[in-house]
């Protein structure tokens, strides 16, 4: 037996025997010995002691032996770096071998030897192989560049391999192109800001041509690479789509999914009224359905992605419900995913079928699957109103089965149905109460308690029921305890006479005997409310609850967009952004769908028409500027200084408040502040949140040496244009963090929730560093302050004017677009003070073209005051000299993307007008003039 022979090697005596055999003169014996060495390596035995002996066998004309020795080298070179150098000569020699197989083998192995010392010796052979006449060698060499880059990125850049690799994209051989694309994409991943791939219409065309000819794997590399490109306009987008659609007929599921990714992404750019848009939608459905007949693991990946696609574009699969019906022999992970998609696709048209299926599933034996099926029935009831009655009766049937977990799950969903359709199905409460004793899971117990409390007036023995739960109060989970507390208070408010004792008991249990702060705090709030103002207590505790929404588990839109860009990858399987599970990817920019704002506005919202104008304007209009800007944006290879701004304090406060009042009483916050909206003047509401903000201001202000100029808030989005939502705001820079401070005012009649924000690409890559923290629902006439920390690592696109920012804000009503301009001074970094010498040198080096001059009028400051003031805004004075009564201030500032701006400020005593000459390392930046004016003329803090 092979295996026994492998294990016999474990004894150390064997090593010496092998050593002898390796040094034998007989070729055959040598080869057998190397085989034995590899065999023991395979079973995890350490044979590194034989390194020199094995390497000695390297120079051989026996290909098989050579391969084995190379294999050994790859494994042990890292542990024996000094000896690995011995192998270099052979590599160099093998790279010149007449046989292309050997040349390729050498170049492939070379890259796998991760020893820093020897990599530089390998540059020359690699360079030759990249230009080899045989495509097999070239395609292997292309991958080797990526390997080398992984070991020593600097070396690869210095040696100009990246350019050679780029040239290979135009290679005549499709496989070489594919590998070059794969290698470049891999390298680009570690350099998120570089334009390594430099996708332009010409390269795209080359890639599309190669797509038709290369292997299935090559097609995947190319499609994945294409997905990173942003077409200039809808016409280009359409023509790429047209050339990608044939890939949907490929037998390899991975090719199909990568093609779907490209199409889903580029589809964003197509106007919805275009005929082609409809055609494309129709073309996408059949291949997605066919993926379900692939191997189960591939089905699983496909289903996870279909889940995303259905959320983004429900129209694609709305008629395909039947294919998601669960088969008996599907693996459990496929079953659960299918169920999820079935609920998403459920509609009035197909609900009868879906319900019949779900009922079938609910009688299976697999516990997790059954639970999910029962839950799905509840979700159908909430989603499709017409089916609610049928769903409820199905659930009652299931409760009759008395299968413990089915009953519990059914009760949890019935609670939600009660909330969605109040005063409709309460007749079933009696049936539910029968099953009280069998409930042993916290969620089901909590749901039942909620039902008893909510409908206490209709349940005669509600007090008895709740009392029975109270006996083991301390053994219950927090969820149940909180719910029990609230339910008993509700009961008390409804039937005060009989339940006084009960409520006192629960309040003392919650406040005196509990260690849980949430529970204690809620207990105290109730206690005080009840003792001071029972009427107010009634208003708070028994307030109208907001309706629950239909889709509770939708993926947040920004995340969904990002995940669509990652179709087919692990991110799409986990439904998490790559940054959440890949180490060291935090600096990597989040992918966004192209022009989702741009394409949206052409159809829906005319007020951001200017945005489309900019994004669609061909770069040819301002050629020189465009080029310069290209440089400008690529200059920054150093990591940005402000990557992870701390979450604003105010959000923490709000979170706390939510936890405290959340759970069964999630409406308390809303009702507390906004219940009598007409009676309370709007200004009364503001201080509550304003107070939080003040607090935050204090915290933020501590570290500031001088007052930074903060422009006053202006109205960005008038209520008229946004269905009652008014947004005014400003930008501030605090402790190195740029913040967008907004006041959101609800001028509509209904409550607003689910706020989210997103930026279009912009000149300096501003992007929200976190979600928009508006956690409480915004009641009518209420205002709320929101501070959104911004990062500068988002996607970059030149805007006109430079400091223009296009913003999309979403709430439960709609999505709104507006654009605003941020002062350039926000982007001045704290480390903008240049060394004197450097300043002088740079000043000289900057071409005259980059210089611009402007005047600031009516400024009554002397030069020192001005200098002080400017320093507060991160404009640093490097030197000062006085010439003929004029004070010359030399100043420097650094933008967040690494661009330096140098300025000369001339102040003439008695003359209120200043002259400023600025020059930037790249090009004159418009907006600087404004920035100066802002900073100089701001009122004293």
């Amino acid at each position: 037996m092979m295996c026994d022979f492998l294990f016999s090697l474990v004894c150390t005596g064997e090593i010496f025997e092998l050593k002898a055999e390796l040094n034998s003169d007989k070729k055959e014996k040598k080869k057998e010995a190397v085989k034995k060495v590899i065999a023991s390596m395979t079973v995890g035995k350490d044979v590194s002691a034989l390194f020199p002996d094995v390497v000695n066998c390297m120079q051989t004309d026996n290909l098989e032996l050579k391969k084995l020795v190379y294999l050994y080298l790859m494994n042990y070179a890292k542990s024996q770096p000094d000896m690995a150098i011995m192998a270099v000569n052979t590599f160099v020699k093998d790279c010149e071998d007449p046989n292309p197989l050997i040349r390729a083998l050498a170049v492939r192995t070379m890259g796998c030897i991760r020893v820093d010392k020897i990599t530089e010796y390998l540059c020359e052979p690699l360079r030759k192989c990249l230009k080899d006449e045989d495509p097999y060698v070239r395609k292997t060499a292309a991958v080797c560049v990526a390997k080398l880059h992984d070991i020593n990125a600097q070396l690869v850049e210095d040696q100009g391999f990246l350019d050679t690799l780029k040239d290979l994209i135009s290679d005549s051989n499709p496989m070489v192109v594919a590998n070059a694309v794969a290698a470049l994409s891999e390298i680009a991943e570690s350099h998120p800001n570089s334009n390594l791939l430099d996708l332009n219409p010409q390269t795209i065309n080359k890639l599309l041509t190669a797509l038709n000819e290369c292997t299935e794997w090559g097609q995947i590399f190319i499609l994945d690479c294409l997905a990173n490109y942003t077409p200039r306009d809808d016409r280009e987008s359409q023509s790429i789509c047209e050339r990608v659609t044939p890939r949907l007929s490929h037998a390899n599921s991975a090719v199909v999914l990568s093609a779907v990714k490209v199409l889903m992404k580029f589809m964003e750019m197509l106007p919805k009224d275009l005929d082609y848009y409809g055609t494309l939608l129709k073309k996408l459905a059949p291949p997605l359905v066919t993926l379900l007949s692939a191997e189960p693991e591939l089905q699983y990946v496909a289903l996870r992605n279909i889940n995303l696609i259905v959320q983004r574009r429900p129209e694609i699969l709305k008629h395909e419900m039947k294919v998601f019906f669960v088969k008996y022999n599907d693996p459990i992970y496929v079953k659960l995913e299918k169920l999820d998609i079935m609920i998403r696709l459920a509609s009035q048209a197909n609900i009868a079928q879906v319900l019949a299926e779900l009922k079938e599933y609910a009688t299976e034996v697999d516990v997790d699957f059954v639970r999910k099926a029962v839950r799905a029935i509840g979700r159908c009831a909430i989603k499709v109103e017409q089916s609610a009655e049928r769903c409820v009766s199905t659930l009652l049937d299931l409760i009759q089965t008395k299968v413990n977990y089915v009953v519990q799950e059914a009760i949890v969903v019935i609670k939600d149905i009660f909330r969605k359709y109040p005063n409709k199905y309460e007749s079933v409460i009696a049936t539910l109460c029968e099953n009280l004793d069998s409930l042993d899971e916290p969620e089901a117990r909590a749901a039942m308690i909620w039902i008893v409390g909510e409908y206490a007036e209709r349940i005669d023995n509600a007090d008895e029921l709740l009392e029975s739960f109270l006996e083991g109060f301390h053994d219950e989970s927090t969820q149940v305890q909180l719910q029990l507390l609230t339910a008993i208070v509700k009961l008390f408010l409804k039937k005060p006479t009989e339940t006084q004792e009960l409520v006192q008991q629960v309040l003392s249990l919650a406040t005196q005997d509990s260690d849980n702060p949430d529970l204690r705090d809620r207990g105290y709030i109730y206690w005080r409310l009840l003792s001071t103002d029972p009427v107010a207590a009634k208003e708070v505790v028994l307030a109208e609850k907001p309706l629950i929404s239909e889709e509770t588990d939708l993926i947040e839109p920004t995340l969904l967009e990002e995940l669509i860009c990652h179709i087919g990858t692990l991110a799409s399987v986990y439904h998490k952004p790559p940054s959440a599970f890949v180490e060291g990817s935090r600096g990597v920019q989040h992918k966004r769908l192209p022009g989702s704002a741009g394409s949206g506005e052409s159809v829906e919202s005319p007020d951001t028409g200017s945005a489309a104008g900019v994004s669609e304007a061909p770069p040819a209009v301002i050629p020189s500027q465009g080029d310069l800007l290209g440089d400008l944006l690529n200059l920054d290879l150093t990591p940005p200084t402000t990557t992870g701004p701390p979450p604003p304090a105010s959000s923490g406060m709000q979170m706390g408040a939510m936890d405290l009042l959340g759970g069964g009483l999630d409406s308390l916050m809303g009702t507390g502040f906004g219940a009598p909206p007409a009676a309370m003047p709007a200004s009364f509401n503001v201080p509550v949140s304003g107070g939080l903000d003040d607090l935050f201001d204090l915290g933020g202000g501590v570290g500031m040496p001088m007052g930074v100029f903060n422009p006053p808030k202006t109205v960005w989005l008038p209520a008229m244009k946004a269905k009652g939502l008014e947004i005014s705001g400003t930008f501030v820079r605090r402790a190195g963090v740029i913040q967008m401070e907004m006041t959101l005012t609800n001028k509509a009649m209904s409550v607003m929730t689910d706020f989210a924000i997103q930026f279009n690409r912009n000149s300096f890559g501003l992007a929200p560093a976190g979600p928009l923290q508006v956690l409480t629902p915004l009641s009518p006439n209420q205002s709320i302050e929101a501070a959104l920390p911004l990062s500068t690592v988002g996607p970059v696109m030149k805007m006109e004017p430079l400091n223009n920012l296009q913003v999309a804000v979403k709430n439960n009503i709609d999505v709104f677009y507006f654009s605003c301009q941020y002062p350039i001074s926000m982007l001045f970094a704290e480390d903008g003070k240049m060394e004197r010498q450097v300043f002088l040198a740079t000043w000289k080096d900057i071409p005259n073209d980059n210089e611009s001059q402007f005047q600031i009028k009516d400024c009554h400051l002397n030069s020192d005051a001005a200098s002080n003031k400017l320093q507060g805004s991160n404009i640093f004075t490097i030197a000062k000299r006085t010439v003929e009564g004029q004070d010359m201030l030399y100043q420097s500032m650094k933008l967040t993307n690494g661009i330096w701006v140098l300025a000369e400020l001339r102040v003439q005593a008695g003359n209120p007008n200043y002259t400023v000459s600025t020059c930037a390392t790249v090009s004159a930046l418009d907006g600087l003039c404004l920035a100066y004016k802002f900073c100089m003329t701001n009122p004293e803090p």
Binding site: E64, W217, S249, A302, Y328
Partner: protein
């Protein structure tokens, strides 16, 4: 108890470890050397046992930054998920993600710590199984161990730095052979095919007689609910080629595709609407997209040229009625009636009706009007086999089982009745090969041969187990016209 037994039966596992992007891709094969009776109720004891009994059969490290030892976490993780009933093809431990498939009793595992293309990884793992199977006939522990040198060579050729490369086993066999000595004689060189645009066929192939065999195989998937209604039905067809042609022939296949007929303006005869079509690498996809022509240079030997899916509601052809009566604590009585409702001149071969029975049933008794019935206790079912089932006929099977007086309180699943069969010279959809044009520059004449077969794919008829429950089931099979050759 039962669960543990099942695990002890599977003696060995293979882990293949392929990692994409900045991480190693290596293949690891694990194997149980001995099985100690580990206490199944003690998680720790079990995990410990596994670590000792499994080891990596073979592994290939394609990149350098996932620790090879990470694979040790895989099996405990897998066991844990399996126990919780939450089995998933992706498992993760820390920042390492395991993507795995199982082939007979071996596991092939790819590990990564990047946001890899998951669909690519699974496709590749299945490709790996395909290549190994073609090389070694069977992919199993012994074949890996006995051929580890070739396996390493293949792993190197199939993937480089996490990018799949050449995966066509026929082409690979031209320069990676099982007999190492052969290599030296040939003084191995890379076949140009590897990097050619036509990467699936080598030049210089010669046959005395030029022939191509076309198999049109359709399988029907039908799901019937307990009330006898068809819940869903579709046809998955595939066209397989056995090519024995010299040189580099250009082939064009003509089908009675409705879209094609509409495009060219002809509309006589029966046409077929294909919902979705998938093609082998060799078919020019953009050509098909533009004018529905299926043109290609075929790979040599056997290959699957295309597969298609047809979504049609089909007319019932075989009708299955079943009555299952379960008398608790005493017996189960089963009556199944199968009726062939396809044309009299057609014959269904190797018909297999699988009827589930309770797991604690015993002392089976059968009576059939034709064919044989057999009790398969390990699968808890009765298999009723009918070698040849002519259209229009009706057959009956009765079964009687005893039940123990002490009831099994374990909940049992509700497996459906499944039906398997094969009908030659017949396609359900009515798809036809109208022509196969073969053009080679040497101008030889070649003969195409066509064969049609219909199979049942997953035909499932759901049952319900109540105390006493009678119901009727209908099994549908669609009707197709006879096909002229």
């Amino acid at each position: 108890q039962k669960l543990v037994k099942a695990k002890m039966i599977s003696p060995n596992c293979l882990f293949c470890h392929i990692i994409r992007q900045r991480s190693q891709r290596h293949l690891i094969y694990y194997h149980i050397r001995e099985i100690k009776a580990a206490n199944p109720h003690n998680r720790e004891a079990r995990t410990y046992g596994i670590r000792n009994f499994f080891f990596v059969l073979i592994c290939r490290n394609y990149k350098g930054d996932v620790d090879m030892a990470e694979i040790d976490h895989f099996l405990p993780l897998l066991m844990q998920h399996e126990e919780e009933g939450l089995l998933c093809p992706v498992l993760s431990h820390g920042n390492v993600h395991f993507m795995w498939i199982k082939h007979s009793n071996l596991y092939l595992v790819a590990t990564t710590n990047k946001n890899s293309n998951a669909s690519l990884v699974y496709s590749f793992l299945y490709k790996l199984v395909e290549v190994f199977t073609e090389y070694f006939k069977e992919l199993e522990e012994e074949s890996i161990q006995d051929n580890f040198v070739v396996v390493y060579e293949l792993l190197d050729e199939l993937m480089d730095f996490g990018f799949p490369q050449t995966t066509d086993s026929k082409i690979l066999q031209e320069y990676i052979t099982q007999q190492g000595t052969k290599l030296e004689v040939a003084k191995s060189k890379v076949p140009t095919t590897v990097t050619n645009a036509v990467s699936w066929r080598s030049e210089g192939i010669k046959y005395k007689k030029n022939e191509v065999f076309i198999d049109v195989i359709e399988s029907i998937n039908v799901l019937v609910n307990a009330n006898g209604n068809v819940m869903s039905s579709d046809i998955v067809g595939s066209i397989k080629l056995k090519t024995m042609l010299s040189g580099m022939p250009e082939l064009r296949l003509g089908l009675n595709d409705r879209v094609l007929f509409a495009l060219t303006g002809r509309d006589k005869g029966k046409t077929v609407v294909m919902e979705d079509v998938k093609f082998h690498q060799c078919v020019r996809l953009s050509r098909f997209e533009s004018d529905r022509t299926i043109s290609f240079i075929p790979p040599d030997g056997e290959s699957e040229l295309m597969s298609y899916r047809i979504n049609t509601h089909v007319k019932p052809l075989i009708w299955i009625e079943s009555v299952i009566e379960k008398f608790s604590h005493s017996r189960v009585e089963i009556m199944v009636k199968a009726k062939g409702q396809f044309k009299k001149q057609s014959v269904a071969n190797n018909v297999e009706v699988r009827v589930p029975v309770p797991s604690d049933a015993d002392s089976p008794k059968f009576k059939t009007s034709t064919g044989t019935a057999k009790y398969v206790p390990e699968k808890n079912m009765v298999v009723w086999t009918i070698k040849s089932f002519p259209g229009g006929k009706e057959f009956l099977m009765r079964a009687h089982f005893g039940l123990p007086s002490v009831e099994n309180n374990e909940l049992e699943g509700k497996p459906p009745i499944t039906v398997k069969f094969e009908i030659p010279y017949f396609t359900v959809s009515g798809i036809q090969v109208r022509y196969m044009k073969i053009i080679e520059k040497s101008g030889y004449q070649a003969l195409p041969w066509v064969r049609y077969i219909t199979q049942s794919g997953g035909t499932l008829i759901r049952l319900q187990y109540n105390m006493t429950y009678c119901f009727r089931n209908v099994f549908y099979l669609s009707k197709g016209s006879d096909v002229e050759m």
